[in-house]
């Protein structure tokens, strides 16, 4: 595992009861790059994404074998503090899910949970996070309004700001634009490009053009296996595997 790797898996397997949902996944995610996971529904891409901050722990009858490392640290060991892990590896979901609180409180919530109570420090965190999420200019005058009054695209950027507030190393995004219109989608995509400067982003998307636009690396998954993982330009210009070629050119899936 090289120094530029932030997350690494080796022969990672996952079962939901009898269903072998991830099979021998071996990959390395590079720091401060965007990695996209693509593949047809049910191929395991969201399951793999959820492994990266142990969200699968919340589902019963899940069994995991193999290696999963975050900065060379074993993520699967019993001693791993899952709350601390999820601070380092944040997540943004398919549908925006702001808390029914003010815009300010949504962003300040995480830092408060992690023990920050100084108002001045919180103000700084809120402003910085909203700026990094490209939302500050739109909400600076109404920080105390309810987050639920924002548009869908703004809510999703607020959720990204909420994730950024606890200063994660890695941000996981599970179909972050699937509930958004094209303009809000374009804003999120621009944001992903900007986030790369500070964070590692891993995005699951059904939209192959989106994967092509935003990511540096792309992994194609099929039936629980990582079929091909390479630079995005290689995957979309001349993939090595026929299965990848057939999927991205729309011949199946």
């Amino acid at each position: 595992m090289s120094d530029s790797t932030v997350i690494a898996t080796k022969n990672l397997n996952l079962w939901y009861n009898e269903k072998h949902a991830l099979q021998d996944i071996t990959m390395e995610i590079e720091k401060k790059k965007t990695t996209a996971l693509i593949g047809p529904s049910g191929c395991g891409k969201s399951t793999l994404l959820r492994c990266f901050n142990r969200m699968n722990d919340l589902i019963s009858h899940v069994k995991i074998t193999g290696e999963l490392l975050l900065d060379k640290e074993d993520m699967l060991c019993n001693g791993m503090d899952v709350v601390a892990l999820r601070k380092r590896v944040g997540m943004v979901f398919q549908r925006p899910n702001p808390f029914p609180k003010s815009i300010y409180e949504n962003v300040a919530y995480g830092p408060r949970v992690h023990g920050i109570s100084d108002r001045k420090v919180l103000d700084e965190i809120v402003e910085r996070s909203l700026r990094h999420a490209a939302l500050w200019e739109e909400v600076r005058d109404r920080l105390n309004d309810s987050a639920l009054g924002l548009s869908g695209g703004q809510q999703q950027r607020l959720c990204i700001a909420r994730t950024l507030a606890v200063e994660p190393e890695v941000i996981l995004m599970d179909e972050p634009c699937s509930a958004l219109d094209p303009i809000a989608t374009a804003k999120i995509e621009n944001l992903i490009e900007m986030l790369k400067e500070y964070y590692t982003v891993i995005i699951v998307t059904h939209n192959m053009q989106q994967a092509a636009r935003v990511s540096d690396y792309t992994g194609f998954m099929y039936l629980g296996k990582l079929i091909e993982f390479d630079k995005t330009t290689t995957i979309f210009e001349h993939p090595k595997e026929d299965l990848t070629e057939n999927y991205i050119t729309g011949r199946f899936g």
Binding site: M208, A212, F236, H238, I248
Partner: protein
């Protein structure tokens, strides 16, 4: 939708192949007109210029639309890129046919000198290269493209020898200067057409393998 796109892509390939064959026939007929001093055949080549241009524009438009509407990737994308290059190379080849036909009009009344040097042989070689490149595009099979580099070297050597031979005749007898100059020009056209065949071959290789190669 994807099936529709792939049907349109197949239709595009048929169209490009048809256009490439059309341009090939312009060069082929111009060479035949030159060898047989057939001004009537040369006139038919000149008459095909506008249709060649129309086909070029129409097929290019189709490529642009397929890209804009389908955002193709992988082999689909490479096929369209290759098709655009095939269209450009074919148009040039057709226009060299037209330029050769114009020369035929100039010199058809005068007997050939020195058995046309090696132009008939060079013409046969170049036409075979273009034919192989078009066939490789149609069949999506690059086997026929092996050896293109050596074939291109042979064409360069022929052009050079025609040039030297023509100079010799011009020095011996100034009355041959006009005709021998035209021979040099036709050899130059053929050499350029072979280069276009090499460009076609490089692009068919890219379409098939995704690898960029250079035929030197």
């Amino acid at each position: 939708m994807t099936d529709k796109f792939h049907t349109e892509l197949k239709d595009l390939k048929k169209g490009v192949s048809g256009m490439a064959r059309y341009a090939f026939s312009m060069l082929q007929d111009s060479q035949e007109a030159f060898i047989n001093q057939d001004a009537a055949l040369a006139a038919t080549v000149l008459g095909r210029k506008d249709a060649l241009r129309e086909k070029t524009v129409e097929l290019e438009e189709t490529c642009y639309q397929l890209i804009a509407l389908n955002q193709p990737v992988a082999k689909d994308m490479r096929t369209i890129v290759c098709s655009l290059k095939m269209i450009a190379a074919s148009e040039r080849i057709g226009r060299y046919g037209k330029s050769t036909a114009k020369i035929v009009n100039e010199i058809a009344g005068r007997p050939h000198i020195a058995n046309m040097m090696s132009i008939p042989l060079m013409s046969e070689y170049v036409l075979a290269m273009i034919d192989d490149a078009i066939t490789a595009y149609e069949a999506e099979n690059i086997r026929k493209l092996e050896g293109f580099s050596a074939r291109d070297d042979a064409i360069d050597a022929l052009r050079h020898s025609i040039f030297r031979e023509a100079i010799t005749y011009m020095m011996e007898n100034p009355k041959t200067i006009t005709q021998a100059t035209y021979y040099i020009i036709i050899a130059r056209y053929l050499e350029r057409c072979a280069d276009h065949a090499c460009k076609m071959a490089e692009n068919v290789q890219y379409m098939e393998t995704g690898e960029r190669t250079e035929i030197k």
